[in-house]
Amino acid sequence: MIVVAEEYSLNNSRKNELESLIKQKISVDDEDLPLWQEAKDGNFKAFQELMNRFQNRVYGLAFRILNNPQDAEDIVQQTFLTLVEQIDRYRGESKVKTWILGIATNHALKLLRKRKGQYYTSFNDRNLDSINHEPLPHPEYIAVWRDNPENLATQKELKILLSESLNRLEEAYRTVFILRDIEGLSTEETANILDISLSNVKIRLLRARLQLREDLTKKLGIEATRLISTHSEHPISK
């Protein structure tokens, strides 16, 4: 029993040491932290600078989740009001950016569920978890795209196409894709914000990527280059 207690204490002390190292690393890498510290001391200009840095990002994040400009505006306002209210609560466990985007994401998801009448559904949805265990959908439409993404991105109609594709995704897949691939957060940061496991983030991201690829390739792929996948019946010799 004593050995177990000693091990536990050692593990705990190692854990604290690691957490402290992670915090130090986060603060060194976090360019928004000095502004946050000034804002915390009551400097509104510093807070205003943070608003200017993040407002369009929060707006874009909310717009992508909710697909409605008025709702996105509400989320911007609610997010920064929450930040003022909770300005003392930030402890440096994550980057300032992650904290802000996390608050915005949770406000947006809350509103989305309210709109859908799902007041009590959590993001950690059991039905969805069972879908996660189903086999992955195989890529069906496989073709080379007609142009590179940088050129495609400049075309006006693409904005609508991307928005439609994103909105066809299940909410839970969409949110993970937005946080990981559009906002550039890590798997760990995404898992913390959504309160789901790392493996859940990974599988939802994979399903989102596969569905978006399928959708966009049908629109952007060159039919003449279309390939037929032979799936698992096509073992490859090493």
Binding site: E73, E150, L227
Partner: protein, 87 residues
């Protein structure tokens, strides 16, 4: 390695620049399987397109309005008048 096995591991290949060097069987499969190579390219293009494609900018009229609301909340929290803050 089969296409199905690569499909399960796609995130690793997409997210890590060194995955193909570390997991030689991924590279070996891709060099022999054109459909998988195109799917991988398509996924990378999908991500790049979303990152490069859409920037959202809130309407300037709203920006002014909401910042005033935030400033009032700020004053309330820090018990400061506007004059004190600007001095």
């Amino acid at each position: 390695m089969t296409c199905d096995e690569l499909l399960i591991a796609l995130n690793e290949v997409v997210d890590s620049e060194t995955a193909l060097e570390i997991y030689k069987e991924f590279a070996a499969h891709l060099s022999n399987c054109n459909p998988c190579q195109v799917v991988l390219d398509n996924i990378r293009q999908t991500i790049t397109l979303f990152q490069a494609g859409q920037e959202y900018h809130m309407p300037p009229s709203f920006q002014e309005k909401y910042q005033q609301i935030i400033e009032s909340k700020w004053d309330e929290k820090f018990h400061k008048s506007k004059n004190e803050k600007n001095s």
